[in-house]
């Protein structure tokens, strides 16, 4: 099924084949994302971005992706200066934006806001993170990082470490990895374990999932360590936060025991979970992961918004 004109709200909206189609397209866009080649693929197209909560890399990478493709963007980056501050409903803001742009990218503090936006918008809507809910384009760039490094998404052993309870990126990534037959190892503080419903869903999908409290042991056969930030706001007791976040820091000494092709990933921003000494290691993949946000979002935008070539040589929009 074509992605043209479609919404992307949750990673569940994509089949295995569609994910692979996006990853293949992303690979082709890398030279343009790096500025070595130019593209006018989305010339004349306008992308509307509505960010109802702060974001740096997600917003900038969408803007970069659209502009690298020759398209333009309009952005609500600060809802306090827009009609939202006057009490306009989300639905009305979305209707307005969808009448201006050719597609809409939305980030919102409430879970499900993007699904609502997709229902009221007559243009495609891409979810750029809704509260603690879904962030499917982050998952796509996580998959692109793994796929670029290993040449496959199957048969890998992936450790998910840190806040597995509230971290939206790990839930989506775990569900996506389900589709490709990789094994998951969960390493988290007891209070931030992966929710039962997610573990059950993964088990039902035939994924091998296990918890491993000993990171050293988990690392022995691992291909990927995916680290997430433990968020201070999840803890009422700051002493408890300091204790837990301190014990979920990656120790660079452990890198001496990992497989040669092993990589460390992180959705960023990081605080102290990965010390800077790891950055120069060949195992550090998180900056590459951050860069791949651009070609992955280019791929997605070009597939959702792409026009066909007309007989006269110009593009029909």
């Amino acid at each position: 099924m074509s992605l043209r004109g479609r919404d992307l709200i949750s990673i569940r909206d994509l089949s295995r084949e569609e994910i692979l189609e996006i990853l293949i397209a992303a690979r082709r866009w890398i030279p343009v994302a790096e500025g070595r080649r130019a593209s006018e693929a989305l010339q004349g197209r306008l992308l509307a971005l509505a960010f109802f909560e702060p974001s740096t890399r997600t917003r900038l990478s969408f803007e970069t992706a659209m502009q690298r493709l020759g398209g333009r963007v309009i952005t609500i980056a600060d809802p306090t200066s827009s009609s939202v501050a006057k009490g306009e409903s989300l639905a009305d803001t979305v209707r307005m934006l969808s009448s201006y742009g050719d597609a809409l990218v939305i980030r919102h503090p409430n879970e499900g806001a993007s699904r609502l936006a997709a229902r009221v918008s007559d243009k495609p809507v891409i979810n750029a993170g809704d509260g603690a809910g879904q962030h499917p384009t982050q998952t796509l760039l996580d998959l692109a990082t793994i796929d670029e490094h290993f040449g496959t998404l199957s048969g890998l052993r992936v450790i998910l470490m840190g806040d597995l309870r509230y971290g939206r990126t790990v839930h989506s990534l775990a569900r996506a990895l389900c589709l490709f037959g990789s094994e998951l190892v969960l390493h988290s503080p007891p209070s931030l374990r992966m929710p039962d419903e997610v573990v059950r869903e993964l088990g039902e999908a035939g994924v091998r999932v296990r918890e491993e409290p000993d990171l050293r042991r988990a690392l022995k056969d691992a291909d990927v360590l995916y680290v997430t930030r433990i968020q201070k706001e999840r803890f009422g007791d700051l002493a408890e936060y300091a204790r837990i976040s301190g014990s979920y820091r990656f120790d660079p000494a452990l890198l001496s025991e990992v497989k040669e092709r092993f990589i460390v990933m992180h959705p960023l921003p990081r605080v102290a979970e990965i010390p800077p000494e790891v950055d120069s290691s060949p195992h550090a993949a998180y900056f590459r992961q951050a860069f791949l946000a651009v070609p992955v979002r280019m791929a997605l935008l070009s597939l959702i918004l792409g026009g066909r070539l007309s007989k006269k040589g110009g593009r029909s929009l």
Partner: protein, 157 residues
């Protein structure tokens, strides 16, 4: 029904009989029916802990002069999938059917996630997808959170 049971709840001329309600759930059914909004000429009979060959024990609710909206039937199916509904006209059963849960439930439940957009925007009606029927698994169509305690999250009529 046999004669002995008819004595426990008198028959009605026109209205609805909701039978095979899960044991102890009759009061929840009354809540769904919004009994307070009925006119005084609608007699409501309730039997709780009634012997049943099929279920062991069951509850029964009879309401005079009322036929259920599809929305109310869906809500009853949600809390008691075993229920059957009989429409009575002139003391006769005109229609009898088991309740059937649709694939999507709109406006029936509140999402358990306080940060879900369906709890934050007034114009948005809650919506749940039935992921599995037995055991019942419902997922919010907006935030994708699964709902565990159906009774607690039933929307008030």
């Amino acid at each position: 029904m046999n004669g002995a049971r008819e004595l426990k709840i008198s028959s009605i001329r026109n209205g609805t009989v909701i039978d095979h309600i899960g044991n102890g759930l009759a009061l929840e059914v009354l809540r769904i029916l919004d009994i307070g909004s009925l006119s005084k000429d609608s007699t409501v009979s309730v039997a709780i802990h009634v012997r049943s060959q099929r279920m062991g024990w069951k509850d029964i609710v009879k309401v005079e002069n009322m036929e259920l909206s599809p929305q109310k039937v869906n809500a009853i199916a949600l809390i008691s999938p075993t229920a059957t509904i009989s429409i009575i006209r002139d003391y006769r059963v005109r229609e009898k059917r088991a309740v059937d849960l649709p694939d999507r439930l709109i406006g029936l439940l509140r999402c358990p996630n306080p940060n879900c957009i369906s709890n934050c925007e007034e114009s948005v009606e809650s919506e749940f997808e039935v992921v599995r029927r037995r055991p019942l698994v419902l997922r919010c169509a907006y935030c994708e959170r699964e709902l565990e305690d159906v009774l607690f999250h039933l929307a008030r009529p």
